[in-house]
């Protein structure tokens, strides 16, 4: 079984995240880049399956600037067998449509039984890529899974939707996304880090995938304006001297909040 896990380099959410006010793109210099935690959890699902099923091949794939190679390599150190890095300056400003078309082309080229992604990235928070990929790849989507069972021919799981919990299943090939209800990922160990250096790491361009990034015959979603909001400032802070609760009640009453 061949599992492709989509991972993403994102600005560390523990830091202040900035957008470039000219381009609206992430200001990559403003914060430490890390592998998105949800992508690590997706990789953990694949690696756990591989631990129990020796014939599993796990590929990490990412569309990201060239500088993200080190971050993607962490996926290899954690245990993935190979990596595909789609790096192309022409894709820097890709909208969701172009991103999905490019990833779908790369996934087709690599070949897959199952694609696993996170449900939402911590920077874009789009959450639509898994379903877009399923449509383009002509396979089923099962998203936002809070548990996953993989067999030779199918994938199934539970998803928490508004108003209920749903059990779903799909024949392979398929695209699934997982939520942070799934376990934390393993840490890469020294052996893994050393082994990663010898694992296949393929870098491909848009042209390699038959993608024309500046295709103006396609409709695009573009940013037309961006503004930074002034940060919130702290108000009153008191230390409880036996009247803390009463003081909050007074604050609420004064501000007509009760």
């Amino acid at each position: 079984m061949k599992i492709i896990v989509l991972v993403k380099e994102v600005p560390d959410t523990y830091g202040e995240r900035k957008l470039d006010l000219e381009t609206g793109l992430a200001d990559r210099a403003a914060s430490e880049p890390v592998l998105d935690e949800i992508g690590e959890r997706a990789l953990e699902v694949a690696l756990a399956h591989a631990d129990a099923h020796a014939d599993t091949e796990v590929v990490v794939m990412s569309m990201a600037p060239e500088s993200a190679a080190t971050t993607i390599r962490k996926g290899l150190a954690m245990g993935a067998g190979s990596a595909v890095h789609i790096a192309d300056p022409g894709l820097a400003a890709a909208d969701l449509g172009l991103t999905a078309r490019t990833l779908a082309a790369a996934i087709r080229r690599t070949g897959f039984d199952l694609v696993i992604t996170g449900n939402l990235s911590t920077d874009g928070s789009g959450g639509v890529i898994p379903a877009m990929l399923a449509e383009l790849l002509e396979v089923p989507n099962a998203t936002a899974l809070t548990s996953v069972e993989i067999t030779d021919g199918s994938v199934s799981g539970t998803r928490d939707v508004d108003g209920g919990t749903m059990r779903v299943s799909a024949p392979l090939p398929a695209v699934v996304s997982i939520t942070e209800a799934l376990p934390d990922a393993r840490f890469p160990n020294f052996k893994g880090i050393m082994a990663a250096k010898k694992k296949p790491f393929e870098t491909v361009s848009a042209a390699d995938l038959g993608i024309e990034p500046e295709d103006l015959s396609a409709a695009w979603s573009i940013m037309t304006a961006i503004a930074e909001k002034p940060p919130r400032t702290a108000g009153t802070k008191i230390t409880d001297e036996g009247d803390g609760g009463t003081r909050i009640a007074e604050f609420l009453i004064e501000n007509r909040l009760v």
Binding site: A170, T179, K237
Partner: protein, 328 residues
């Protein structure tokens, strides 16, 4: 503004497992009526669409397209996408609005990929200018406001749940049944749906006017009841930090933050929450923030309008009695 008052805006209205319109519906129809003529699409089991159509008209839909199918109960995403594609073909909308719910995102994503339409996600509002429809986004926990648009053609927009306060006026019911050719696209099978058993009279977290959230500082699931007690005293929804969810104090759908729900209430009360940046990302656009934390250096105080350095188990019971006192 009123250049194209009648441009059709297609709105997909989701239904709950028990056959009512989802709570997102009112905001979606109102958003659409602000930029054009709202045409609602409802997808329901045979015989069930008329009641949804009536609800949609009551929310302000000018026209309701009703697709009746048995497949929406058994197949994930694809039947809705097929219906949306048929509706879009029929009315040639200027924009397609879908809730940014888990199912809504999937439907919007597949629809956009199928039709090649650009997609704008997690919008907190829509508007229009001379050139067409604009989607407004609140990015990185509200630190940035971003506006996006399509270069041409219809824009697919997923709208954040609870973000639209506006409501449209009710209209007479005008239902048309929609013929939906099946695309035959592969889909996952829905094996079962269990409605949530949470029988709560509390307000829903998304879109709530007041939210009381608890963190790891509450210490246990039993003691988390204090958060619920204050919420009830304030008529507020209950929220939580990820640490509280991970510790099993409360279900994951109450998580506020980066990877949970984003709220923008009149009042947000944070109890025993440190104020990690990922938590703040989901609540710092609240109008008023009150925090109780025993650590004077907790980052939550940096965004609190009123902060009390103290023990939640001393401060909160006193607050609850003060509120009860006032009611009498």
């Amino acid at each position: 503004m009123t250049d194209h008052p009648a441009a059709p805006i297609l709105v997909l209205l989701e239904a709950t497992p028990d056959g009512e319109l989802a709570t997102s519906a009112a905001g979606l129809v109102a958003a659409a009526s602000g930029i054009g003529a709202p045409v609602a699409l409802v997808v329901a089991a045979p015989g069930r669409a008329q009641s949804l159509a009536e609800q949609a008209a009551a929310l302000g839909a000018e026209r309701v397209l009703a697709a009746e199918t048995t497949s929406a109960q058994s197949e994930l995403t694809v039947p809705h996408v097929d219906a949306l594609a048929a509706a879009a073909k029929l009315i040639a909308p200027e924009a397609v609005l879908v809730s940014n719910s888990i199912d809504g995102r999937d439907i919007a994503g597949r629809f956009a990929a199928r039709t090649g339409a650009p997609i704008a996600v997690d919008a907190v509002g829509v508007s229009r200018d001379d050139e067409g429809v604009l989607a407004h986004h609140s990015v990185h926990g509200g630190a940035y406001n971003v506006v996006s648009a399509a270069t041409f053609g219809p824009l697919v927009v997923t709208v954040r749940q609870g973000a639209i306060d506006a409501r449209a006026e009710a209209r007479p019911v005008a239902t048309e049944s929609l013929e939906v050719p099946a695309s035959g696209a592969a889909s996952a099978t829905i094996e079962s749906v269990e409605p949530v058993t949470e029988t709560s009279s509390r307000p829903e977290l998304r879109g709530a006017k007041r939210v009381v959230s608890g963190g790891r500082g509450l210490g246990s699931a039993e003691k988390f009841a204090l958060v619920e007690e204050l919420a009830d005293a304030l008529g507020a929804a209950v929220g939580a930090s990820r640490a509280a969810v991970d510790a099993g104090y409360i279900q994951a759908n109450h998580q506020v933050g980066q990877t949970g729900v984003s709220v923008s209430p009149q009042l947000y009360v944070a109890l025993g929450i440190s104020g990690a940046i990922q938590h703040k990302a989901g609540m710092q656009t609240a109008k008023n923030i009150v925090a109780v934390n025993k650590d004077p250096d907790a980052p939550i105080f940096e965004v609190a309008d009123f902060g009390v350095v103290g023990d939640v188990f001393a401060v909160v019971p006193q607050l609850i009695s003060a509120l009860a006192e006032r009611k009498r």
